[in-house]
C-alpha cells in the first residue's frame, strides 16, 4: 500500500509532463500518463484520477478473455488513441442545429428522429460525440423534479458524493478485462439520478457516436433510481464507416433501490464492417444492474444490429426480495458479423423473478451466440426464471449457438429454459410471395414477427427505428 501511495505521489509530480493543454487528442498509446492527461483534460478531482490509476494497474495484471465464441485479430492497445474531443469544442454545437449537417444526414438515413427531438416532447437527449457530451436538452425541466441528468464528467465535478458512492459498485474495476480498461480511460458518458418517489416524466436518451478515426470509445453510464423512482432510458449508437476496426468498451451500471424501476433500452448500430468483413466496431461492453431494494425491477431491452463483433451480457443481480430482472434481446448478424451476447440473472433475494427472451438472427457468414446464466442461491427461496431463446438461420454458412447455464440451489425455486433453432420458414415465405410480396419484404415481415416479443418492450419511436435498422442490416442476405 505504502509503495503504491508513494509511487502515486511521485507520479503526481510528473503531472506537468503531459502534452499541451489545448491538444484535442491524447497521444497514441496507453500509460499512466495517458490517464493523467485524460483526467486533467476533464478537470477531474483527485479521487477520480486515483480511481482511474488503480483500475489501470489492475488492468495491467489481467488477460484479455478468450472464452467467448468470437474471433478477431489481436488488439494492439498501444496503437490506439484513448481520448479525442471535437476540434471545435469551445465553440462547438450548443444546440442540435449546430451539429454537423453530414452527421445529421446519417441520422436521417437511419430514421433517427434527432431533428425532431426538440419537437417530439418527452425525449431529452444527451448526445455524446466522440467522447465529450456536447448537447444536453431538457435539463432544466428535469431539474424541477430533482432529477440529475448530465454528462459523466459534469457529474464527477458537480455530484462527487453520488459518483463516489455508486461508481464501480455494480461493475467493480476488477470485474473483467474490458471493464478495467474502461475504468482507467473512460472519457465521458451519462449520469442519471432519480430521487425518491419520482417518476421521470420523459424518456431519457443518449446517442453515442464514434466519429474520429482510430479512436477507442470508452463511455461510462451510471443510473441510480432511488426508492420508488421510475426511469426509462434509451441508448442508441451509430458510427460512420471506417476501414479499420475500432474498439468500443463501455460500462453501464444501474442501481435500483426499493420499489424502483429502471428500464434500459438499447439500439446498437455501430458500423458492422463491409460485405467482406472489413472494418467495423468491436463492441465489448459490460452492462449490469443491481436490484438492491425489495420489489425493485430492472429491465434490459436490446436490439443489436451493428458492430463487427458484439460481446455483451446485460445482467441483473437480484439482491432485494421480490425483485425482478428482465432481458429482451434481438441480435442480428449478417455478412461477417459475430455476436456473443446474453445475460446473467443472479437470484440472491427471496421470491425474485427473471424473464429472458432472446432472438438471434444469422445471415450469410454471421455467427450468433446466446450465452446465459441463471443462478439461484440457497437463500433465494421461491424464485422463478423463464428463458426462451430462438435462433433463425438464413443461408448455409452462418451459425447459431445457444449456451445457457442453470444453477438451482434450493428446492422452492424453478428455472425453465427453452430454445429452438431453425431456418426461416419456407412455407411462410412462399405464402407471402405468392401474395405478391418481394422476397425482401416477406423476410422482413417474418423476421419482424419472430422478434415481436422483444420489440413490444421498446418505446414506440425506438421500435420503429429498430425495425428499420433490421431491414437495413439484413439487406443482401438472400438471393
Amino acid at each position: 500500500m505504502t509503495d503504491s501511495a508513494e509511487s502515486f505521489l511521485k507520479n503526481e509530480y510528473a503531472y506537468g509532463f503531459v502534452t499541451p493543454v489545448d491538444s484535442d487528442a491524447a497521444p497514441r498509446g496507453l500509460s499512466e500518463d495517458t490517464i493523467r492527461f485524460i483526467s486533467k483534460k476533464k478537470n477531474e478531482p483527485a479521487f477520480m484520477l486515483e480511481w482511474r490509476l488503480a483500475a489501470y494497474r489492475e488492468w495491467l495484471k489481467m488477460k484479455e478473455p478468450t472464452w467467448s465464441s468470437v474471433q478477431y485479430p489481436k488488439i494492439d492497445y498501444q496503437d490506439m488513441i484513448y481520448y479525442s474531443a471535437p476540434k471545435n469544442k469551445k465553440d462547438g454545437p450548443k444546440s442540435l442545429e449546430e451539429v454537423d449537417a453530414e452527421v445529421l444526414k446519417t441520422y436521417a438515413k437511419l430514421g433517427i428522429p434527432i431533428e425532431e427531438q426538440k419537437i417530439l416532447a418527452g425525449v431529452a437527449v444527451d448526445a455524446v460525440f466522440d467522447s465529450v457530451s456536447v448537447a444536453t436538452t431538457y435539463k432544466a425541466k428535469l431539474k424541477e423534479y430533482g432529477i440529475i441528468f448530465c454528462s459523466f464528467s459534469e457529474a464527477v465535478r458537480e455530484h462527487p458524493d453520488l459518483i463516489k458512492k455508486y461508481l464501480g459498485s455494480v461493475v467493480p474495476v476488477k470485474d473483467n478485462f474490458f471493464a478495467a480498461l474502461n475504468s482507467a480511460v473512460f472519457s465521458d458518458g451519462s449520469f442519471c439520478y432519480i430521487p425518491k418517489g419520482v417518476r421521470c416524466p420523459m424518456e431519457l436518451s443518449t446517442y453515442f457516436r464514434i466519429n474520429a478515426m482510430d479512436t477507442g470509445q470508452f463511455e461510462r453510464t451510471l443510473i441510480v433510481a432511488d426508492e420508488g423512482a421510475f426511469v426509462s432510458y434509451l441508448e442508441g449508437c451509430t458510427a460512420p464507416i471506417r476501414d479499420k476496426n475500432q474498439l468500443h468498451a463501455a460500462v453501464v451500471e444501474l442501481v435500483a433501490h426499493e420499489k424502483a424501476v429502471i428500464k434500459y433500452s438499447t439500439v446498437q448500430n455501430w458500423y458492422s464492417g463491409d460485405r467482406n468483413g472489413k472494418g467495423g466496431i468491436y463492441n465489448f461492453v459490460t452492462k449490469r444492474g443491481l436490484c438492491q431494494g425489495a420489489h425493485s425491477k430492472i429491465s434490459w431491452t436490446q436490439v443489436e444490429t451493428g458492430s463487427s463483433i458484439t460481446w455483451k451480457y446485460p445482467s441483473c443481480i437480484l439482491q432485494g426480495d421480490y425483485s425482478t430482472g428482465e432481458f429482451y434481446s434481438v441480435a442480428v448478424v449478417n455478412n461477417h458479423q459475430q455476436a456473443d451476447t446474453g445475460t446473467k440473472m443472479i437470484h440472491l433475494g427471496k421470491h425474485t423473478k427473471s424473464t429472458i427472451i432472446s432472438k438471434g438472427i444469422s445471415a450469410r457468414f454471421g455467427k450468433n451466440t446466446y450465452r446465459g446464466l441463471v443462478k439461484m442461491v440457497p437463500r433465494a427461496e421461491g424464485s422463478r426464471n423463464y428463458t426462451q431463446c430462438d435462433s433463425l438461420l438464413m443461408g448455409d454458412r452462418c451459425s447459431a449457438n445457444t449456451f445457457p447455464t442453470l444453477e438451482v440451489n434450493n428446492r422452492t425455486s424453478r428455472a425453465e429454459h427453452e430454445a429452438t433453432t431453425s431456418r426461416i420458414n419456407e412455407d411462410q415465405l412462399f405464402y407471402c410471395r405468392q401474395r405478391g410480396m418481394s422476397a425482401e419484404n416477406a423476410i422482413s415481415m417474418i423476421v419482424h414477427g419472430f422478434c415481436k416479443e422483444v420489440f413490444k418492450n421498446l418505446p414506440m419511436e425506438f421500435a420503429v427505428e429498430a425495425q428499420k435498422l433490421m431491414n437495413v442490416s439484413l439487406e443482401g442476405s438472400v438471393g
Binding site: G395, P404, S413, S422
Partner: protein
C-alpha cells in the same frame, strides 16, 4: 509435476516393462495417452466441462489395480445374472472372466487384452477410433492402463434374438482399487442387437471404475444399449461410451445412475454418415452426498440425421445433479432434426442442480431445440393426490416415480423396464422414507 501424477507415471512405467508383446501401434497410443495425462493432470473445476464436478477426491489418492478374482458364491452370480436368457458376460475387477460367462450363438466375444496379442488385426482398426475425447484425463488413463475388457462383434446381417448382458463387478474388499475396463463393440452392417451393461459392487471400500466403451455401428446396424450404474456408495465411477454411426444406423441408449459417491456418465455419439439416428435417454437419482454428472455430446456430421435426448434427474439429500448436453450440427449436416430435454427435480432443501444444454448449429436446414427445467414436485399435483387420501410421503414418491417412469418408458429394451422401475422405486422408497419395511 504433482506427486499423484508422478505416481501414475511410475505405475505406467512398471506396467510398460511387461508389455513387450504388445503391438507397436498400441504402445504408441498408450505413450501418447500417458503423456497427455502427465501434461494436463486431473481436470479441475476451472475447466468448463468439469465446472460442477470436483474430482479432487479422486486426484488425491493413488488408486491401484487389483486383479485377483474373488471367489463368488453361486447365489451371488445368480443375482448378478438377473433374469433373462442370451449372453452373459462377466467382468470382475476390470478383468473379463470367461469361466463365469455364457456366450450365445451369433456373437463373437473375446477378452480385448487377449485379442490384441492374438488377433491384433481385428482390434487395431477400431481401438481409439470412435473416441471423441482423446484429450480427457480419464480417457487417457484408461488407454494407458487398460489390460482387459470386452471385444464384442456381431457379424453382418445377424439379428441377435436375445440380449447381451455384461456385468462389471467390483469386489471392493481392498481400499483404493481401480479398474480400467476397455470395451469395443462392433456391429456389422445390417446387424441388430441389444446390449445391457451393469456396474455393481460388493459393498466395501472406496474404489474407482474408469471404463471406456467404444461402439461402431456399420451401415444399417441397430443397437439398443443400456447402462445401469448401481455402484456402492463409496465408489467413484467415470464411464464414457463413444459411438460412431455409419449410414442409416440406429442407436438407442438408456442410462440409469443411482450409485457412487461421485459418478460421471459420458455419452458421445457421432453421426458420421447420412440418415443415422440416435435416441439417448437417462435418469439419475441422487441422495446423501452424491454427485451425479451426466454428459452428452451428439455430433451431427452428415445430412438427414436425427437425434432425440431426454434426461431426468431426481436429487435429494445433499446431492448434486449435473447435466451438460451438447448438440453440434456441422455444415454438412443439412436436414438434421435434433432435440434435447433435461428436467430435474429438487427433493430437499440442500440438493443442487446444474444444467447446461448447448446447441451449436452451423447448417441452416435444420430443426433443433433444447429445453431444460429445474423445479420441484408440483404442489397442485401433491394436493390432488392427498385430497384422494394418499399420504404426503406416498404422494411425493408417486409423483417422483411418475416423473422417472416417463423416461424409463423411452427405452427400446422391453424386458429391462421392470428392473429399472424396481431400482428406481427402491431408491425412492429410501428417499421418501415411505417404505413399510
Amino acid at each position: 509435476m504433482n506427486e499423484k501424477i508422478e505416481w501414475y507415471k511410475k505405475a505406467y512405467e512398471v506396467l510398460k516393462g511387461g508389455r513387450q508383446n504388445e503391438p507397436e501401434w498400441l504402445l504408441l497410443l498408450r505413450e501418447e495417452a500417458i503423456a497427455a495425462f502427465v501434461r494436463k493432470g486431473f481436470p479441475t473445476v476451472k475447466e468448463e466441462s468439469w465446472r460442477y464436478t470436483d474430482v479432487a477426491a479422486i486426484a488425491g489418492v493413488p488408486f491401484e489395480s487389483d486383479e485377483t478374482v474373488p471367489a463368488l458364491s453361486p447365489e451371488t452370480l445368480e443375482v448378478l445374472k438377473q433374469k433373462g436368457g442370451g449372453s452373459f458376460l462377466f467382468v470382475v475387477n476390470g478383468k473379463f472372466s470367461r469361466v463365469h460367462s455364457k456366450i450365445a450363438e451369433g456373437i463373437d466375444v473375446m477378452d480385448i487384452g487377449e485379442a490384441i496379442l492374438t488377433r491384433p488385426e481385428i482390434v487395431q482398426p477400431y481401438l481409439g477410433f470412435c473416441a471423441s475425447s482423446a484429450g480427457d484425463a480419464f480417457y487417457a488413463l484408461n488407454t494407458a492402463f487398460f489390460k482387459s475388457g470386452l471385444l464384442i462383434r456381431v457379424a453382418e446381417n445377424i439379428t441377435l434374438k436375445e440380449p447381451i448382458r455384461a456385468v462389471f463387478f467390483t469386489d471392493a474388499s481392498k481400499e483404493h482399487t481401480v479398474s480400467h475396463p476397455r470395451n469395443l463393440v462392433v456391429m456389422g452392417a445390417g446387424s441388430k442387437g441389444v446390449l445391457v451393461e451393469t456396474y455393481v459392487a460388493s459393498n466395501g471400500q472406496s474404489y474407482l471404475t474408469n471404463s471406456v466403451t467404444e461402439v461402431l455401428l456399420e451401415k444399417g446396424a441397430i443397437l439398443d444399449h443400456a447402462k445401469i450404474q448401481t455402484e456402492s456408495v463409496a465408489a467413484f465411477h467415470i464411464a464414457s461410451t463413444h459411438t460412431l454411426q455409419r449410414r442409416a444406423s440406429a442407436f438407442s441408449s438408456f442410462s440409469l445412475s443411482t450409485g457412487g459417491r461421485l459418478a460421471r456418465n459420458e455419452c458421445f455419439v457421432a453421426l458420421d454418415d447420412g440418415e443415422a439416428s440416435c435416441s439417448l435417454n437417462g435418469l439419475y437419482l441422487g441422495d446423501r452426498e452424491q454427485v451425479l454428472d451426466q454428459q452428452t455430446f451428439v455430433d451431427h456430421r452428415k445430412p438427414d440425421g436425427n437425434s432425440h435426448q431426454l434426461f431426468k434427474g431426481l436429487l435429494a439429500g445433499n446431492s448434486r445433479g449435473v447435466f451438460s448436453g451438447r448438440v453440434m450440427v456441422r455444415q454438412d449436416a443439412q436436414g438434421t432434426d435434433a432435440h434435447q430435454t433435461n428436467k430435474a427435480l429438487l427433493l430437499s432443501d440442500t440438493a443442487k442442480v446444474d444444467a447446461q444444454p448447448q446447441l451449436e448449429i452451423l447448417a441452416d436446414d435444420v430443426k433443433c431445440s433444447h429445453g431444460a427445467a429445474v423445479g420441484q414436485l408440483q404442489e397442485d399435483a401433491l394436493f390432488y393426490l392427498r385430497s384422494r387420501g394418499i399420504g404426503e410421503r406416498e404422494a411425493g414418491q408417486m409423483l417422483a416415480q411418475g416423473f422417472a417412469r416417463e423416461v424409463i418408458e423411452r427405452t427400446e429394451i422391453e424386458f429391462l423396464k421392470e428392473t429399472l422401475l424396481e431400482i428406481v422405486n427402491e431408491k425412492l422408497t429410501r428417499q421418501f422414507g415411505s417404505g413399510k419395511e
